[in-house]
Amino acid sequence: MSDNHDVDYLRASTGIKSWLLTIDHKRLGLMYLASVLFFFLIGGIFAILVRTELFTHTETIMSAQQYNQAFTMHGVIMVFLVIIPSIPAALGNFVLPLQLGAKDVAFPKLNLLSYYIYVTGSLFAVYSMVSGAVDTGWTFYTPYSSQSSQAVVSMTLAAFILGFSSILTGMNFMTTVHKMRAPGMTWFNMPLFIWGIYATALIQILATPVLAITLLLIIVERTLGVGIFDPTLGGDPVLFQHFFWFYSHPAVYIMILPGMAIMSDLIAAFSQKRVFGYSFVAFSSLSIALISFLVWGHHLFVSGQSALAGAIFSFLTMLVAIPSGVKIFNWVATLYKGAINLATPMLYALMFIFLFTIGGLTGLFLGVLSVDIHLHDTYFVVAHFHYVMMGSTIMAFIGGIYYWWPKMTGKMYKESLGATGAILVFIGFNVTFFTQFFMGSQGMPRRYYNYLEQFEFYHQISTIGSYILALGLFVALWSLIDSLRNGEKAPQNPWNASTLEWTVCTTPPIEHNFHETPHVTTGPYDFGIEEGYSD
């Protein structure tokens, strides 16, 4: 073994304690990654149970009560334990300081605390699963949630605690971006991944406290009997929806912005080109973050809110389409005259463009007032948000894992396995969720245990699609596990990428990331040009 100074972060110290009490952002990133993937598996099992139950239009494998609990657990786990922490907490933690040329995040101990708050929150969630499962849906709408089983208290408490993990991580990242940039790393020299994570952190800090307030009010109402949302106690159930979506719509952007953040880096690296319209892409992240606070009322078009409020929220909602469209167009323009390499991370990036285009465009149907009245709370909505949450964010997450896997582990995965997984995921995903657009526009409501027999055909196709999707995800997981044992040693910069974590930092990184502080003199996407060509 060479001088301790040169040993990579995985071997710098050993023993279980060196992991559990680490303040190294890279190890914390891996711990988040393992936790998030574990809960992704659990949430996925619930998804498969739900889809299997829906294979026939009456009872298939479980009772109505169990079905309601299964889709609630699927939603709660996927939103609070998987998607929200996925990219920022797992990949953001690992990559952000490396890309900035920093030794660590601004507050390493706070970072460790965030992880344990996340663990505590997830334990509460697991407890309420075991202790008599919640059946309210992940939205916890009152007054149903005020009257349903006691496990609602522990489940909302779980979401409350997880919120704090999210706030602290956001704060940590924001401070890091402001204070820890290497010399020469100006704001406009930062990789777009950082811009996306920064915009996400902004929303996490400003919106999550509102969720905490709301969930606390539910707990107060349930345990002390104070009437806030429950009409039998003099409360207003629609007030809850305002509170809930004031957080949860920005939270949708907490989920999608990091996906977009990864996209810019992947598209640049795998087409060996500068990102087209860098500043447009950077500022579109910030404008999405700002507008996201002003659109919550589009979840309440049929809840009895006034027509004027409906009109304003509809208009603001449509404005989000502009920065989202700008991003898509810029990514496609980046491919033009590039040197495009279809490695597995790029397959997921291209999948993202395709699926996010569908997810975004179907959002137009739902932002338009009169059409939304018909589509609201149908499978059209279910399909739309799965295209955005799963089809976009999770695909970007998986693409990001493949992209930074050599950096994290020092091993290369097998391209053939990676590509097979990606293709199965793509087919499975579209078969599962595109079918749901048909059902939804024909009027099939969401959260239905039994359903009209005429929709059985669509449901069966969707269920079969979900099995293909699950198979694809297992192949992807296998390709990663396999690389740990049989993978070739990763070269320093396997993608010929241009950001600091690949150009300066070793693979895998040393404990303190850089031997000496890097001095940045070039832009984030400084690739060469083929001989004989200019511009």
């Binding site: 502009i322 338009v368 040009i529």
Partner: protein, 327 residues
């Protein structure tokens, strides 16, 4: 409750997208739906076609060459794709708002009906005629080509009243009136679905609306009035067992649902949650219908909605007499 029979009603469908049009407002909603649909196909091709073309044209293996260009901005094209979508979105917004106001504001001459959502059935009443029908899968009748305004409220938790073929939907909120209106212009039978999650039997909270000519509508109203006034107690109780939703939680064959079965209930000694015992007689049954929280049977939860003020004396008697017959 026969779930298969309940779930066999059909939304009338004439394409893979929105269902058949059966109200005056639905045509405008569909016009906008298909406008967005075709423009989305156009926009989708605008994104995906160049993407696929670039992938084919510029694909390399193993970073074997560099890019042909590092151009990273173009003022004209970026202005175009930032500004043009705005005009498209304004068109969508204005069209959607017009349609929404048309769905939202009922004409002043509309006939009024009352809708009450309760776990897990709808009650539909016609205040002008003092007629009400209710129950899981209940069928109610409205006249064709008539403006009809529904005033909606919920008894317990949120529900939502959705008629796919009419393109109308409105939440039923406890403690607050919401409204929707429609003008059904095609005779037929159309499903009504609950679209706000409300618990165990959410997906069985269905109803059917039959659209008929004005004369047939009057005849149905008169027939329904007559039927509800002339039934003997046991038959009335049997009818209420379905229409007031008792069947969602209490079986009549001894099987255990959310609440105790009615089979063999009358005259039995019930063990209560507080350890005491009570004999099931007329007084106990009356109390348990009107104020169910007063005495909770052991191993069951306090979930039932109180029926105080919601049943006439005749109806309470009918229910008790009906339960007595279930030996």
């Amino acid at each position: 409750m026969d779930i298969k029979a309940l779930q066999s009603m059909e939304v009338l469908v004439d394409s893979v997208w929105t269902p058949a049009v059966a109200s005056t407002q639905a045509a405008d909603v569909d016009g906008l739906f298909y406008f967005i649909y075709w423009s989305c196909i156009f926009l989708g091709i605008l994104v995906v076609a160049p993407m696929l073309w670039f992938l084919v044209k510029y694909r390399v293996k193993n970073f074997s060459r560099k890019a042909y260009s590092q151009r990273d901005h173009g003022v004209l094209i970026e202005t175009l794709w930032s500004v043009l979508p705005f005009f498209y979105l304004v068109v969508l917004f204005v069209w959607g708002l017009r349609g929404f106001l048309n769905l939202y504001i009922a004409p002043p001459d509309a006939m009024e009906m009352r809708i009450t959502g309760q776990k897990w059935f709808w009650e539909i009443s016609y205040p002008e005629d003092d007629v009400a029908v209710s129950g899981q899968g209940v069928e109610f009748v409205v006249p064709v080509d008539t403006n009809i305004k529904l005033i909606i409220i919920a008894e317990d938790v949120l529900h939502s009243f959705f008629i796919p073929n009419f393109r109308v939907k409105m939440d039923a909120v406890p403690g607050r009136y919401t409204t929707l209106w429609f003008n059904a212009n095609k005779e037929g039978l159309y499903p009504v679905l609950c679209t706000e999650y409300c618990g165990k039997d959410h997906s069985n909270m269905l109803a059917k609306v039959r659209v008929v000519k004005q004369e047939e509508f009057r005849a149905w109203i008169e027939k329904t009035q007559a039927a509800s006034n002339s039934l003997p107690p046991v038959a009335l109780g049997e009818k209420l067992y379905g229409s007031k939703g008792c069947n969602a939680c209490h079986s009549i064959d001894g099987s255990r649902l959310v609440g105790p079965s009615f089979k063999g209930l009358y005259g039995r000694d019930e063990k209560l949650a507080d350890g005491s015992t009570v004999k099931v007689d007329d007084a106990y049954m009356r109390e348990s219908i009107l104020n169910p929280a007063a005495k909770i049977v052991e191993s069951y939860q306090n979930l039932m909605t109180p029926y105080q003020g919601k049943l006439k004396e005749r109806e309470i008697v009918g229910l008790i007499e009906y339960i007595k017959t279930l030996k």
